[in-house]
Symmetry: C2
């Protein structure tokens, strides 16, 4: 097993083994660019380190020593040699870029002797001791985990004593003083002298980099960026070049194009007489890269040429690091540059226009998730400068908004009627809050995860939402504490649903910038994708929005969402509280025209695009009031005693509503509900067809929560009898199909049975995930943090489809369905329908379409194209 | 397709096609016994009838007409022929016996002409018109569904007018009068004359029998007896013989042995001058069969010989029907006779001793489910005679008991301390009620199904329980209405947990009779079974009981059950309400000695038999108080404010506790719980081992609710570290293994991963069934009745393992586990572990053992033997 590679032995295709940084250093070396010599300890060595209970195996140590010898040969320098010392940097480098998440040690090889040697060699005492003190400082921090602040304090003290403020004004003696102070502090803290043996320094540093793979911020970053925990990091060991040897030295960080706008112009910053971390740390204000040209024209020209060459070679915008040592340029890093969403689109389109890449490559280059941020209003960086952040929750639904805090849906409505903008602040939301949520500029909840009710509904509406902010402490029904301040009803707060941050007061937002590149990319995506993209929408407004974003139909109309509005909930409650079938039918008769009207409006908006209507799904008690005053009012309205009403409400209580009397179980117990809904749909379709002749309404009726063929048969019989009767009575023709949601494990296992009756399947991966994992979205927030902290889960399975545990059941269902009906229409209408990696799975699994909330339609279009390009 | 078979064409192996009755009539015919000629319309014809939208296909009608011709040929009589009429019976006959559930029509072929012909032919006017009026009566009832009571009223009226009370005192004229009155009534109700065409009568009757397959009582019977709905019924058409032609006629029903005791002696009843239904209907008091001998010695002797021959032939006790027409014996039915549990065992053992069958056949002959009733006290038939039945619930846990009604666990304890016997009456029970449940003689709940908390716990304890009796209406906290009467605290009621019946007042019970045959059968079962039988037990008492019943170890110790007792719940609550790890550890330290003591007692009882200990499983809020006064008291005890306590309780609330923070999720968030439980187990095992040298404690540690390998790894690490440390500290050796419950669909799908870490699997089929179906046991009772009524479900999947939907996942898990560890120990510890048909599945699927509640251990032993015999 080979654990170490010289840069000259590698290339950019070896990222898995060498990490991104290592592979690119190797690639640049092979291209003949001026890269300081070095080698890479592989990611496999890191994994081995963890396997060996956090010890570096002797074989690896031996190999590293061997490569140090090789490095000494090619550089002509020697580690720890006073007369000709080799100084090296030790840097992390994972397969995917994790900027700043892991550790780096510079100037390794310094000790009390070498520093003297370096002084006489460079004739630069200040430089030598600056390098030494930097090394002690970094080693103490990164390897020994001594408190960083103490070192900063010592520097400040020296500067104070000397009456200066800038690092550059520190003298050589100051640096010597500093190095000594650092060493004393080290000894005091560690109980041993600062290590003088370069190999002791080296292995401790390598180990520190390995360790840093699992530091908390790295873990968090990986979770946020969906990077697996089992990749490990490589370690890059490289000859030091010095940007801090004097005024003909410099160091900088650049992008080959503007990462904010995408403009084709080198963009970056540098410092004279400094080491790389000074630029990043922001202690000194760096210069714009353009200012390098007049001072060091030759170095700048070479740098410009290299930038161009790297772009041509990598066919993408690059993020590079360089150092100029005594006028000579060295490249220290190149990688694909991070960029804003709009820059990402512009660069992709430009690169195609420049002939560097083709459309497929352009599509593959864009991270689909970034499109999200382009569709919602945002706080600009300007406006955020003076904002007071008061809390942090989950970034549940993107966009930014400010308004007056209100605590109930009713208040939201009252404020709205007065023309005021509100942020709805709730412990958690429930379907009863739907009207208030619709009206609110933003939603903040103290409980619930990324797929809580608030989060799901907000994303569906495109309303910004920060969910599960446990810092919000409700003091009573009209106030809460957050960030040390008490907020009452009417106080102003602002939310950023893209970052999860909460701010004091009202922060203005800027509208989303959708440039022409966005349209271009979407057009290209549509050329390649094979999956259809539909949307989950319950209203004409949502539908219109989704169609604008490119939806080809509706994959999920949740009919119950229509019943929470004030004028409808009464009839709904009458229906629920009916004692007899007759009473229930009377109440349903009142609901019928409302529901029919809703469908007509949606069908008209769709203009002939297909729509899948899911029948009533939630447990009935969700529609009933819970507060005393509401119950009393309802009892009066319904003309029953409060006791009777309470008894009825109690009798509807469920221990586990998620696993209760809902979905098609409602239709089995009350078939008249299915009959009413069928009437509403079919009559609406016929009415819309009669009104115009430009298109024909396409209806797909979906029975939810089916787990057994006989269930589906039973409900379908009512649906078909009702539909056919109405069609016949109207003396017309209407194509409609009846299918089912696959959202129970038993539906997957018996999918072949179900396929014999269902004309289509739509996977409800939210509920399916819940049942397969055996935990509910609403309750999981109590223990999921511990699961992430302990690396038991890497991802929220409600956000990213679980291919390991849920995937095989979906695959089983697809195979069984196709064994019965080879061309069956199969789709997904869970939240996963808008998640790129999940869409990739659905593409591979052979589905016909995915359906997602309107604001995720563009993401789905691009992700589907990427999946098609990747897997054909 | 052949839809009709003459009796002479069939045999007893054709039950699927001909039904039980038809197949046995054919068998007797072939054996040469005196069976009136006839034919059978197959069960396939019945299924075809339903497929054809409840119409008898012309082809079938044609075939029936053809067979009527054949019947006319062999009998020499003719349907509808006045001079020589063929009269026939039309009887149902399903594959499995469903006595009295479906319909029968006798004397078909009668009409106004035939009755006259029959009169002159038999010279018996009374007989002729008796037969006619019977036919009109039955046809009106069964085929036309006219009200039965009206006919009874007409008969009563005639008897009253005539001043007589016995049917036998009715004269020929009375019969004519009756026939005419019936015909008039028929015409009045139906609007048409009583049909005179025998073929119209015949096809209407066949259709009525087909229809009766789906009448409500047949549906209910099938559900209770686990008979599939898709079997259908055959129809047997047979020449009538008449037991009502005069005093040298008789009809009777007999068992070849005593069905109550198993004694080898013909046992039965008969009537002179009567038709078969008179015996069954109980209108006249029949004679003991022994009294037939002196009156008709020849017929009796022939009958006795036939009984013997049938037993020898069928190798089982038979239930036969016969008719003697003018001194000549006819056999009308034979079938395996229903018998009491004890008779069942005695007969099986006797048949082996008589050399008729071998041990395997004996074991296969016994319905394992009947053993249940042999282990609990019961109401005798005597004592029930005068009992007033006041309600009916689910027969949730067998046995019978009476006592004073109490409404809370606390009251139960108070009554118990005064030496009183109580029945605990609750809306539903919760883990808090455990002490009261333990003390109660019986438990009655208004809500919940066969696997509700009350039912499961009661079965585990062997306490009788009637669950989900929705007729119980709570008026307030100390009274309820049932059967029209209001019961207050202290009022006496009695329950029969084997029938689900509730009685007013105190009914004495008789202890269970366990005869030596029971022991014999169990011994034989143990010889053949390959599955081990364990028990689910949480206390030494349960454990002892289970071992007496033959359990070979414990398959499930639910550690949480130990924490509901008064002195422990406090420490448990302290643990739950801890704010820091340190506080939690302090509280756990208090629980440690209690739990260790529990384990020591159980291990000592087990005397070296293995036991599987499941770690804390339920959501924590189950342990917290819900009532105001309890909360206030607890706050005081814990020295926190009521507000703080309420906040903590609220924060523990879950929307779907079944899918919440429970099982191993508790250990992931609070590993110190797993550490404490490990300490308790390992220390207990070491202590018990030190005390004696006769046996060594065998411990299996089971992590519940695992869905992901990393979860198991995480918790197992704490377990192993703790266990190994304690073993080392004690300088001893202890074998323990760590495994997991498979109770989530994701655990099945990833069973190969889990098997790499787990040393055994135990399938928790209760939770698995819930997750696969997506409904909770507690909530399903709201809609399951509609599922049974509409034939969507045939069985409660929590009682009988669902082989269609859950089975493939269990099989998948077993296959995946064995692919990693071919000899892995695999068991079941769900409620299904005590259900015969489920045990058959588990045997076939390749499990090592099943574990069930103590009172089901004998059933499991026998079922396992039957599965082994059936499938090898």
């Amino acid at each position: 097993m080979k654990y170490v590679y010289m840069f000259s032995e590698g290339n950019s295709s070896m990222k898995e083994l060498l990490g991104g940084k290592g592979a690119n250093l190797a690639e640049m070396t092979v291209l003949g660019l001026p890269v300081p010599e070095g080698f890479t300890v592989t990611t496999e060595a890191c994994l081995r380190y963890y396997e060996d209970n956090k010890e570096i195996a002797p074989a690896i140590k031996y190999e590293v020593r061997d490569y140090i010898k090789k490095l000494e040969e090619v550089t002509g320098k020697k580690l720890g040699d006073k007369t000709n010392p080799l100084l090296i940097s030790v840097r992390s480098g994972a397969r995917a870029s994790m900027p700043g998440m892991m550790d780096t040690i510079l100037n390794l090889g310094m000790n009390d002797e070498v520093v003297e040697g370096l002084e006489s060699l460079t004739n630069n005492r200040r430089f030598a001791y600056d390098s030494y003190r930097r090394f002690i400082q970094m080693y103490s921090d990164v390897v020994m985990e001594l408190p960083k602040a103490e070192f900063e304090a010592m520097i400040e003290e020296i500067k104070e004593n000397r009456g200066i403020t800038e690092d550059n004004d520190l003298t050589a003696d100051d640096m010597v003083d500093m190095a000594n102070k650092f060493k004393s502090f080290y000894k005091e803290q560690v109980g041993k002298d600062f290590p003088q043996d370069p190999f002791v320094q080296l292995f401790a540093s390598i180990e520190a980099v390995f360790r840093s793979w699992n530091n908390p911020r790295a873990l968090y970053y990986r979770r946020m960026n969906e990077i697996p925990n089992n990749w490990g990091t490589a370690v890059n060991i490289q000859r030091m070049v010095f940007g801090n040897m004097g005024e003909n030295c410099a160091t900088g960080v650049c992008f080959t194009r503007n990462p904010a706008t995408g403009d084709k112009h080198i963009f970056g910053e540098f410092l004279f007489n400094a080491q790389g971390e000074d630029v990043v740390a922001g202690i000194r204000t760096p210069y714009n890269i353009d200012e390098l040209k007049p001072v060091m024209p030759e170095a700048y020209q070479e740098f410009e040429e290299i930038c161009h060459r790297l772009e041509q070679h990598y066919k993408d915008m690059q993020d590079v690091e360089f150092t100029i040592e005594n006028g000579k340029l060295y490249m220290l890093q190149t990688r694909s540059g991070k960029r804003t969403s709009s820059a990402s689109l512009k660069i992709a389109v430009d690169l195609v226009n420049e002939g560097l890449i083709d459309k497929k490559q352009a599509l593959m280059q864009i991270d689909a998730r970034i499109l999200d941020s382009m569709l919602h209003p945002q706080f600009s960086e300007e406006t955020l400068k003076d904002a007071k952040e008061i809390g942090q929750g989950l970034a549940a639904s993107p966009g930014a908004a400010g308004g007056q805090a209100v605590f109930t849906a009713d208040e939201a409505v009252r404020y709205h009627e007065q023309g005021k903008k509100v942020i709805l602040v709730r412990l958690e939301t429930s379907p009863e809050d739907i009207e208030g949520m619709h009206i609110a500029q933003g939603i903040l909840t103290a409980r619930g995860g990324m797929t809580s009710h608030a989060a799901v509904v907000a994303r569906g509406m495109g309303t910004c939402c920060v969910a599960g902010c446990s810092e919000v402490v409700f003091l009573d029904e009209t106030s809460f504490r957050l960030g040390g301040k008490v907020y009452h009803e009417g106080d102003e707060i602002s939310l950023d649903g893209s970052t999860g941050k909460i701010y004091d007061g009202l922060i203005p937002t800027v509208p989303a910038q959708i440039s022409g590149d966005f349209e271009t990319i979407m057009k290209w995506a549509d050329e390649y994708r094979t999956l259809s993209i539909r949307t989950n929408a319950d209203s004409p407004a949502d539908t219109r929005q989704a169609i604008e974003f490119g939806a080809e139909g509706i994959g999920l109309i949740r009919t119950e969402h229509m019943f929470f509005e004030a004028d409808r909930i009464k009839a709904m409650r009458e229906m629920i509280l009916s004692d007899t079938v007759e009473e229930r039918k009377l109440a349903l008769d009142k609901l019928l025209p409302m529901q029919r009207g809703d469908f007509e409006a949606i069908f008209e908006t769709l203009e002939g695009r297909p729509s899948t209507v899911r029948y009533l799904d939630p447990p009935l008690h969700e529609f009933l009031p819970t507060k005393d005053k509401d119950i009393i009012a309802l009892a009066e309205e319904m003309n029953v005693t409060e006791t009777t009403l309470r008894e009825r409400i109690t009798s509807l209580h469920e221990f586990n509503p998620m696993m209760g009397h809902r979905g098609c179980r409602l239709d089995v117990t009350y078939p008249e509900i299915a009959v009413m809904q069928t009437k509403a749909i079919i009559e609406a379709a016929i009415n819309v067809n009669k009104k115009q002749s430009d298109y024909t309404v396409k209806v797909e009726i979906m029975i939810p929560l089916v787990g057994e063929l006989e269930e589906l048969k039973f409900v379908k019989r009512y649906v078909v009898e009702t539909a056919d009767r109405i069609i016949k009575e109207n003396n017309t023709h209407l194509d409609y199909i009846v299918g089912t949601m696959i959202e129970l494990p038993r539906a997957c296992v018996t999918a072949d049975h179900l396929a014999s009756e269902a004309e289509f399947f739509s996977f409800g991966t939210n509920d399916l995930t819940q049942m397969v994992f055996g935990f509910s979205r609403d309750d999981a927030s109590k223990f999921l943090p511990a699961y992430y902290d302990n690396k038991i889960f890497e991802q929220d399975p409600f956000v990213r489809f679980d291919q390991t545990g849920v995937g095989p059941l979906v695959k089983m269902a697809i195979d069984k369905a196709k064994s019965v009906k080879p061309n069956m229409k199969l789709g997904v209408c869970g939240e996963h329908g808008g998640d790129p990696s999940s869409i990739e799975f659905f593409h591979k699994a052979g589905l016909s379409y995915v359906s997602c909330s309107p604001y995720r339609v563009p993401i789905a279009r691009l992700s589907a194209a990427q999946a098609a390009i990747k897997f054909g």
